[in-house]
Amino acid sequence: MLEIKNLHVKLEDEDKQILNGVDLTVPAGEVHAIMGPNGSGKSTLSYVLSGRDGYQVTEGEASLDGHDLLDMEPEERASAGLFLAFQYPVEIPGVGNLTFLRTALNAQRKARGEEELSSAEFLKLVREKAKTLKIDGEMLKRPVNVGFSGGEKKRNEILQMAMLEPRMCILDETDSGLDVDAMRLVADGVNALRSPERSFLVITHYQRLLDHIKPDVVHIMSAGRIVKTGGPELALEVERNGYGDLLAEVG
C-alpha cells in the first residue's frame, strides 16, 4: 500500500535538511505506529506525503498502491485515498463544518468518477457517523474548527476520516490533548474503520492510544530517519525508558 524509499526532504527556502532517508512500507490492512522525539521529523513526513508546500524532496520516492504520490497535487492524493488527520487542525471561519465535509466528499467522488451524494444521503450518513463520535448537530453547523476545543478538533478530524473512507490514514498525534473518554471515542472510531483494505500510520508519543489501537508494527524515528522497527513491545519500551537507551543503541 504505502511505500517510502530513501526519502530525503529539505525546507524549500532554507538550507535545512529534515528527512534523511526514510524507508517505510505499510502493507494493506496493517496498523503501523511511529514514535520519536520532538522535532525528529514525524509531522514533516506526514506533510510531505500529503503534498504541503514548503518542502523539497531531494532524493527518494513515495507511492500509494504503486502510484507516485510525490507527482500528485494534494487533492489528487486525497482522492487517491490518502488522509492526514492533522496534528493542528486548521480553522476556516464562516465555512460550516457540514458544507466543508460535503464539498470534500463530493470533490473526491467526482475526481474518482463516482456519483455525488445528494443532500439527504449526505446528511443521513454524517449524522450517523457523528453520533458514534459524540459530535452533536450544533458542532456540525459551526464553522470548521472555529472555537472548537482541542479534543473537539481531533474528534472532528476522525469524523472527516470516517466520512471520506480513505485507504491510507495517517494520524498525527490525534491522541494529544484528548481526555480519557475522548481517547476511547477516537480509538473506537479508528478500530471501526480497520479492514483488510485499509492501512493506518499512527504518529504518537504515548502507549495509551496504542493500548486501544493495537499496532502491528512500531517504528522509531530520530533525526529524520526510521532508526528502529519492531513489534508492539517497542512502544512499551519507549514508555518505560524513554528514547535515551534506544537511540544510543542504534548510534
Binding site: 500529503s50 503534498g51 504541503r52 508546500d53 497535487e73 494534494p74 487533492e75 492524493r77 486525497a78 482522492s79 488522509f83 492526514l84 492533522f86 487542525p89 486548521v90 480553522e91 476556516i92 471561519p93 464562516g94 465555512v95 460550516g96 457540514l98 458544507t99 466543508f100 460535503r102 464539498t103 470534500a104 466528499l105 463530493n106 470533490a107 473526491q108 475526481a111 453547523k141 459551526r142 464553522p143 472555529v146 472555537g147 472527516q160 471520506l164
Partner: protein, 508 residues
C-alpha cells in the same frame, strides 16, 4: 502588496450558520455573450438636442424635458470627480452613445409573445428562474403555476427600454406600482414630480447630474401605506450596445408602514471598448416603512489586462425621511473594470435605521472604490456597516465610508466592520473611513482587519480533496458569510457562484 488600515491585522472569526450551497459553476466568464439584436442609436455625443431626443423617444411631458435640460445645463458647468483611488483613461463624453434601443422595440409589443426570442434566450443565460422565464415568454397559465420558492417579479431592462413587466396584476391588486420609470412619468406624474430628485438632487454630483439629463429608462416602485409588497421585485440589467452609455434611473417609494424587497442583478457581454455606466437609484422611505435593496453585480470586468471592462459610476441613496424608517443595502460587487459606488443612507427620521452589507471583489486589473455614507440627522438613529473587500491579481480595492453624526442626531449609534482579504502579493486593499461626530451622546465604533488568504487553510481543504480554485472560493465565501446571509435566498446562491467565478485564475 499594500495595506492601509489603522487597525492591527487579525483574522476574524466567522458566523456559525451553515452555508447554503457549495460553490459551483467554475468556467470562463459566464455571461460573456453577445445578442444580435438590431440597435436603434441616437448619434454619438451629448448636447441639448440629444437630451430632447431621449425625452421625445420616451414620449415624455414637457416638465420632464425641462427637468432634463436643467440638469444638462448644470452638468456642463461641472467637472468629473478625481478623489477616488481609481486610475482610468480620460473619458471622452462626446464619444459615447447616449441612447440605444433594441430595434424590435421601436414599437412596443402588445404582449410578451411578441418579445424577440433572442431576448428570451438572454434571460435563460442570465439564469432567470424558470417561472419568470415562462411568464416573460408569455406562456398561458404561467401566472397560476406554482412558483418554486419565493415569488420574484421581473422588470427586465434590456439596454435602455423596459421590455416586459410581470406579475403586474397581482401587484396592482395590492396597490403596488412597479413599472418602468418612463411609464411612471406618463402614468403617475404626481408621484414622479414629488419624489424624483428629492433624494439625489439634479446637481448632486457629476455622474448623477449626467444621468438626470440623459437617463433612458429604469424602474419605478411605489408601495402604498401599510402595504407589504407581496413578492420580491427584481430587475435584471444588461449592457448590450457597444459603446453605449448606460443611464438607468430607479425610484422607489415606500409609503408609511410599507415594506418592499428589491433585487437588482446584471451581467454584460465581452467587449473591447470601455463602457460607461452612470446609474442613479433613489429610495424614499416614510414613517415605519422598510426597504431592502439587494444587488448582485457582475458586469464584464475586462480581460486579464483590464481591457474592455465596464466603467461603473453609480449614485445610490436612501432617504429615511420619517420616524422609524429602515433601509438595508446589500451588494455583491464582482464586476466592472472601474467601480465608483457608495450606496448611502440619510437617517433623517427619529429612530430610523440604515444597514449596509457589502462584498466587493476585485481581480486582475479591476479597481473598486466603494463604500457607504451613513448620515445621521435624526435622534436615536442606528446604522451598521459590514464591508468585505477581496483583492486578487493586480487589483486595487478601496473601502471609503463616511459616518456623520449631526448635532441633532443625539443618542445615535454606528457600528462599522471592515474586513479586507488579499489573495497573492500584487494586489492592494485600502480602508478610508471618515468619521464626524458633532454631538456628545452618539457613539461610533469602527473595526477593520486585513488578512491574506491563509496557505494553511488552503492546504487543509486540498488535503481533503478540494482543488485549489474551489478551496479559495470556499475560504472566500466563508469570509463573506455575514453579507451572503443578508441576501435573499435566491440571490445568495448566485452570489456564491459569482464569488467563485470572479476569483478564477487568482491562484496557481
Amino acid at each position: 502588496m499594500s495595506v492601509e488600515t489603522g487597525e492591527a491585522i487579525e483574522v476574524r472569526e466567522g458566523v456559525d450558520r451553515e452555508t447554503v450551497e457549495t460553490v459551483q459553476n467554475m468556467g470562463s466568464y459566464k455571461y460573456g455573450w453577445d445578442t444580435e439584436i438590431e440597435m436603434d442609436y441616437a448619434p454619438k455625443g451629448i448636447n441639448e438636442d440629444i437630451v430632447r431626443l431621449i425625452s421625445e423617444k420616451n414620449a415624455e411631458p414637457e416638465w420632464m424635458l425641462e427637468w432634463r435640460l436643467a440638469a444638462f445645463r448644470r452638468w456642463q458647468t461641472m467637472v468629473e470627480p478625481k478623489w477616488a483611488m481609481l486610475n482610468y483613461p480620460v473619458i471622452d463624453y462626446q464619444d459615447q452613445y447616449y441612447y440605444a434601443r433594441p430595434k424590435s422595440m421601436a414599437v412596443k409589443p402588445k404582449s410578451l409573445d411578441e418579445v424577440d426570442p433572442k431576448l428570451l434566450a438572454t434571460y435563460e443565460k442570465l439564469g432567470i428562474p424558470l417561472k419568470e422565464q415562462m411568464i416573460l415568454a408569455g406562456i398561458e397559465g404561467a401566472e397560476g403555476a406554482p412558483a418554486e420558492g419565493r415569488k420574484v417579479a421581473v422588470d427586465a431592462v434590456f439596454d435602455s427600454v423596459s421590455v416586459g413587466t410581470t406579475f403586474k396584476d397581482e401587484l396592482a391588486k395590492a396597490g403596488v406600482i412597479f413599472c418602468s420609470i418612463s411609464e411612471a412619468i406618463r402614468e403617475h406624474p404626481e408621484l414622479v414630480k414629488k419624489y424624483l430628485g428629492s433624494v439625489v438632487p439634479q446637481s448632486d454630483n457629476f455622474f448623477a447630474t449626467l444621468n438626470s439629463a440623459v437617463f433612458s429608462d429604469g424602474s419605478f416602485v411605489y408601495v402604498p401605506p401599510g402595504t407589504r409588497c407581496p413578492m420580491e421585485l427584481s430587475t435584471y440589467f444588461r449592457i448590450n450596445a457597444e459603446n453605449t452609455g448606460q443611464f438607468e434611473r430607479t425610484l422607489i417609494i415606500a409609503d408609511k408602514g410599507a415594506y418592499v424587497s428589491y433585487l437588482e442583478g446584471c451581467t454584460a457581454p465581452k467587449r473591447d471598448v470601455a463602457q460607461l455606466h452612470a446609474a442613479v437609484v433613489e429610495i424614499v422611505i416614510l414613517e415605519d416603512a422598510e426597504v431592502k435593496y439587494s444587488t448582485v453585480q457582475n458586469w464584464f470586468p475586462g480581460d486579464e489586462e483590464g481591457k474592455g471592462g465596464i466603467y461603473n459610476f453609480v449614485t445610490k441613496r436612501a432617504d429615511c425621511r420619517e420616524a422609524r424608517a429602515k433601509v438595508m443595502w446589500t451588494q455583491v460587487e464582482t464586476g466592472s473594470a472601474i467601480t465608483w459606488k457608495y450606496p448611502s443612507c440619510i437617517l433623517r427620521g427619529e429612530e430610523s435605521q440604515g444597514e449596509f452589507y457589502s462584498i466587493a471583489i476585485a481581480n486582475n486589473m479591476q479597481q473598486a472604490d466603494t463604500g457607504t455614507k451613513m448620515i445621521h440627522l435624526g435622534k436615536n438613529t442606528r446604522s451598521r456597516i459590514v464591508s468585505k473587500g477581496i483583492s486578487a491579481g493586480k487589483a486595487q480595492n478601496t473601502y471609503r465610508g463616511l459616518v456623520s453624526m449631526h448635532p441633532r442626531a443625539t443618542n445615535s449609534r454606528n457600528y462599522t466592520q471592515c474586513d479586507s482579504l488579499l489573495i497573492g502579493d500584487q494586489c492592494g486593499a485600502h480602508t478610508v473611513p471618515y468619521i464626524e461626530v458633532k454631538n456628545t451622546s452618539s457613539r461610533v465604533e469602527h473595526e477593520a482587519t486585513t488578512s491574506k488568504v491563509d496557505d494553511d487553510q488552503l492546504f487543509y481543504c486540498r488535503a481533503r480533496g478540494i482543488d485549489e480554485e474551489a478551496a479559495v472560493a470556499l475560504v472566500v465565501n466563508g469570509f463573506c458569510r455575514e453579507v451572503l446571509q443578508a441576501l435573499p435566498m435566491e440571490f445568495a446562491m448566485e452570489a456564491q457562484s459569482l464569488v467563485a467565478i470572479s476569483l478564477e485564475g487568482s491562484v496557481g
